[in-house]
Symmetry: C2
Subunit: 746 residues, 2 copies
């Protein structure tokens, strides 16, 4: 176990400083890992640690993401290209990217122990992909040189880089979740296909003999695989006209029941694995903090502690740009009794403490008060200020927005209505001016004052585009989103809205996942179907344009309904087609069209895409939303507050995020300030004045964060958990039953 | 509390027999209620109890269901009728039904305490509906007499009778579940509409100005409500062609996220209420059994017991047709030590004991063995028998079925293939003959030998229709279902298949629910849209036929795609249209068509139907399937065996359902018989020989039954639970938190 050996003995304060520095660096690396939930095991030699710091530096991460983006977007410039570039240019760019990936990998190899590096499939994957890509490049390049066109198959492997770099943990976790679900899904899928086949046989016998014709005059239901395909389409789109009654059973069994079973299987697995992974993270974090503590601990009296000086140096290494008031604030929490050292329990919290945002609250006077105190403090001015601060002021403007929304919905051709919009605009300008008069402008435009910025930008956009009625309208419609604030103030809505907002960040993870799947399918689709279907200008009415440039499509639904634009002739078109396949209910038309031009082979492509995206990814997405809501429901009544939050509240050095909205905080702080009495505690607080912990509102946390918090609060301060090696090698099923209360928690 | 007063004192054995009989009747009523999970409070006077027995008699129940069916099916004969009957005939039938319902209600009022009767909304509902229907009948009849056509609005109320009679507990429970979900759903729905409206406003401004035209040349997006409707359709069908990219956000937010939120809300409520309702049932059952015990108990030694004689008389009243070996068997379980009385714990189990099916296993010799023992016992004959009993025999036939399935799928025009089917048929006949030779025929065609009956019927059907190739094929395809047996033998598939089978009975409940909703909407639809759209023979090509007989439909998608058959001109057509609305993805075409002929009013009807069916009922259906699977997953590892089952197993008087399949049981029993040794226990068993408890396989239990069993096993024998009144008046939230382990159980 890295670092364990070194930490065995207790270090004395009088050891040489050089050694001390190395220890500090190592401890800081552990703390930093715990802070960012990294589970990378690293070498403990001083050189490796320095390299590790460099490895984790933000510039390196940005660089690697840049190269991944470049690599992925190369498909835009390669044949079939949206913006054609010569093969030489794209291949040089690709080689550059590969070099960068290889460099990153070598860097990682230097940092991590040899054994761990070679056991990690992620690294092997990247290396294999680099080699394969190079081979493909060379073969394709040399064939191209002698004018033979071959397939750039390695392009479908590019998303490997996105998935396998340690930075894209979230996407990888979702993939792992999918992989774990696969065996169970497979069995349901086999049953599903069995059911589809039985129905296909029936359809063949019932309708095949009667030789029905489709609307297009083609024979309907003649071949068992054809029928199985038709029925698969039927399940996923429920799109059939005439012979409906016969299919009711089929649809009930296959659409509703099997699709629900898929959901159940995905949900069951997702839930199990999510908990395991998060529990693992929680243990890992605890373990790394213990490692750091063991390195720095000294014995004072009967207990091991970390001295204040060491602690401060450590914090400064972990967060180089920390301000000294911020450091003082952290120390106040960690060393409550001001004993000059931090005990183990408080030390273990350091990673969480560093994650809590600290805000400087500068309670400044309004500039107008400085410039013309008399006028600003006059009774009329005070009345205006009190009015603006009043709840009714907000309500009045909410009503105005609502009325505005109704006006927008009405026909804007009447002059009365289009003039009314200018009235609304001026009302909004008055609102902002009044608020700026009342609140301190720098506080009003504070970093977290989202809605104020929003209002301001809308007004500017509206004024800037006053000659474009349309943009003005769009901008004003956006303003209606402010009604969300009213909605959130109603208890019943709050839970729903806040949960939806929490889902936000994870939707980005799904975006990454979908991007990977789309990219692979787009590359395959481009290689397979490129040029088979062409889009002609709508004014072009030659017979060729009528059949999308492919005679095989004559008389097909694809050509008749003008789907020619849906082709795989470049990356952008491919993405649009795949999006339509995911979202729109007419994928059978697309599949049918491409099946005609490729002699049925395309059906396999379309069905496998459908299985991957609809059965797996969409279900995981739904499950994710379900889980988020269930966690929200189960937390609705319970109060999950971490130990740190409690302590921060006790010491009175925190502000709730809710309080910071819309200038309320400032009023609040004013009230607190004026109410100060002269005792010692308040004096101390005065000294810290202007700097507070910002406690993130419990409502606005992601499912992962909430679960991790719950699990961490269940690990007692004494529980050291399994060792680092044990945690990393644990299989999911190992941890799960050890914690019986998990079943309840979500 | 009914009966509580009577049970306060302990009854002495020497009390007069008349009184005893009344007590027994009362106790038997409690036991019978517990057995069938009825939660009807009844009067304890002897006359009321006798009436209560009559009330619960199966003839009464069949009669009431008959009248409900008649009442509901009247819509087939009333205008707009499928089979027209004069108004006089249908109204007389309706009055008859109403009389029957009223009679049933009066009967119920005599049985149940006055207070309870008038507090129960079910009864009030029925009475109000009867009165309203009579009023409507009179008004409609008198108006009809003077040739004014009015609306028979009370027909939409008919399903009230189906829902509100105490016999349709399941449907009512589902409705209650829906009602409980409504407030939460409403809030999500409002948010959803808010989102749809915001997008509508945007669409109006973005596309309205550009005055887009649809394919039909009609202006697209001109009016806010029109757009809201279009977007609502878009969410539910994801059916839009051209301007796709703009809608991706919209679709992600509204289709995926909101639909998942609906599911989450429904699931959360369903789960909460399901557990509460079942827990309530479990407590109620326990309470009723305690009441019965308190009535019959006598003091023997230090404990209260029920004497054997009393117990037997009680069992005979509860189950009048019980055979005496069956009664002996029950007694053996209840009075283990043969002490001549049944103690409290064993008495409380009586209701469950009576529910366990008892099977008579008559191990008879094969008739051929009687007629020609030499031949049947010859070594050749024994070889055949051993062969048929062998596992490989089943496998061979499974392979044959598989090959047959492949042959069916192939083109049957080749003579080789169509001749092969005769080969398969003869193989199947040989299989049955061999099995009949080996197994005792009466056992082979036992009541539970589903697959044997299935095989036999298929052969008969095939032979009976040998001149119709098509029916023969269908019949043979059905035989492929036997492959399910192979599938079930694989562990991974078993869980899925058995859970799907368990869902079966509850799907019927959903059938009832859907029937109620469809009926109400069909009646409304018939009153509103009757005759607006007409269907003409396809050969009829007059301009009128082209527009479904309504000029308003000229050029609409509805007429163009020949949806004329989808009309509300009689009950059957209405049901088909509603089914299409539920299942098929083209409801916007239907809604659009009817909107044209009714000046947009129809949209309201179609949207409300969509909300009720898709958002509520389909989600509840999905949730139900999800829950069934989660319960199955959580039970997969744990062994839930009731105390009774354990005891039955210990005494060796039970057979597992699994053993009874396909003649295996008989072999089993033979083996057991031949292994008998001469000790006392076995002698006793010999006395009972031929009669065993059939322990339902755990795998084949519904979610409700499993949950109830789990809850009952958590109620300790000493726990008497809350009193009857308390249980009936408990609100769901009262019970829920009291049982912390419920969260785990499912």
């Amino acid at each position: 176990m890295p670092g364990a050996g070194r930490a065995a003995g207790v270090r004395r304060p009088e050891e040489p400083p050089a050694r001390e520095d190395e220890d500090l660096l190592l401890a800081a690396a552990y703390v930093s890992d715990a802070q960012y939930n990294r589970n990378v095991p690293f070498e403990t030699s001083p050189r490796a640690i320095r390299l590790y710091y460099f490895y984790n530096h933000w510039t390196m991460q940005v660089a690697i993401y840049f190269f991944i983006c470049v690599d992925l977007s190369l498909a835009l410039f390669e044949e079939p290209a949206l913006f054609p570039l010569p093969f030489l240019a794209t291949s040089i760019a690709e080689v550059l990217c590969l070099t960068a990936f290889f460099g990153r990998l070598v860097h990682f190899a230097k940092v991590t122990p040899q054994m761990v590096f070679w056991k990690d499939t992620k690294n092997i994957c990247i290396m294999v992909t680099i080699v394969l890509t190079l081979i493909d490049l060379i073969i394709y390049g040399s064939l191209e040189a002698v004018n033979i066109h071959s397939i750039r198959w390695s392009r479908a492997l590019r998303p490997v880089f996105l998935i396998n770099f340690p930075e894209s943990r979230q996407i990888r976790r979702t993939f792992r979740s999918i992989r774990n679900t696969l065996p169970d899904i497979l069995y349901v899928f086999l049953l599903f296909m069995f059911s589809v086949l039985i129905f296909s046989l029936m359809a063949l016998k019932l309708f095949g003999v009667r030789s029905l014709k489709t609307v297009e005059g083609l024979p309907y239901f003649t071949d068992i695989l054809e029928i199985a395909f038709e029925l698969y389409v039927l399940v996923t789109t429920a799109n059939i006209g005439g012979t409906l009654c016969t299919y009711i059973t089929y649809i009930i069994i296959n659409t509703y029941i099997f699709m629900s079973v898929f959901l159940a299987v995905v949900y069951n697995n997702y839930r199990k694995h999510l908990k395991n992974e998060i529990l693992k993270l929680a243990y890992l974090k605890r373990r790394k903090m213990i490692e750091a503590f063991n390195i720095l601990k000294v014995k004072v009296g009967t207990e091991f502690v970390v001295t204040e000086a060491q602690w401060k140096r450590l914090a400064k290494i972990v967060m180089p740009h920390i301000s000294s008031p911020h450091l003082e604030l952290l120390l106040r929490i960690s060393d409550e009794g001001q004993k000059g050292h931090v005990d183990k329990m408080n030390f273990l919290r350091l990673a969480d403490l560093l994650n809590i945002q600290v805000v400087a609250i500068n309670i400044k006077r309004h500039p107008l008060e400085d410039w013309m105190p008399r006028v600003y403090q006059s009774s009329a001015s005070l009345l205006v200020q009190r009015m603006v601060r009043h709840r009714i002021f907000v309500w009045v403007y909410d009503v105005i927005i609502l009325v505005n929304a109704i006006f927008i919905a009405l026909d804007e051709k009447k002059p009365f209505i289009s003039n009314a919009e200018w009235l609304f605009l001026s009302l909004y300008i008055i609102e902002i001016l009044l608020k700026l008069y009342t609140y301190e402008p720098r506080a009003y435009f504070g970093r977290k004052q989202f809605w104020n910025w929003f209002d301001m930008l809308i007004i500017i956009a509206a004024l800037g585009n006053y000659n474009s009625q349309q943009i003005l309208d769009i901008v004003l419609i956006l303003r209606i989103l402010r009604l969300l604030r009213i909605i959130v103030s109603i208890q019943r809505f709050r839970l729903i809205v806040t949960t939806l907002i929490n889902i936000g960040p994870t939707i980005l993870t799904f975006g990454g996942l979908v991007l990977v799947v789309y990219y692979v399918f787009a590359i395959i689709g481009m290689e397979a179907f490129q040029g088979k279907v062409r889009f002609f200008d709508p004014n072009f009415t030659t017979p060729e344009a009528q059949v999308c440039g492919n005679p095989a499509l004559t008389g097909s639904a694809f050509a008749r309904d003008q789907y020619c634009k849906n082709n795989f002739n470049d990356l952008a078109s491919s993405f649009i087609v795949l999006m339509e396949l995911t979202v729109v209910n007419q994928w059978h038309v697309l599949a049918g069209g491409f099946a005609l031009v490729t002699h049925q082979a395309a059906k396999l492509y379309f069905i496998s895409f459908h299985i991957v995206v609809v059965i797996l990814i969409v279900n995981i997405f739904i499950v994710f939303i379900l889980e988020a809501f269930f966690v929200a429901y189960s937390l609705e009544k319970s109060e999950v507050e971490t130990a740190i939050e409690k302590k921060i509240q006790e010491l009175g050095v925190g502000v709730q995020e809710e309080e910071m909205q819309d200038g309320k905080l400032i009023d609040n702080m004013d009230a607190k300030d004026s109410g100060f009495s002269g005792d010692d505690g308040d004096n101390k607080r005065k000294a810290l004045k202007g700097l507070y912990f910002r406690i993130a509102s419990k409502k606005y946390r992601t499912v992962d964060a909430l679960l991790q918090q719950m699990f961490e609060s269940e690990i007692t301060p004494e529980d050291e958990g399994p060792s680092l090696d044990e945690i990393l090698n644990l299989s999911p099923s190992d941890i799960y039953p050890k914690n019986p209360s998990l079943g309840n928690s979500a």
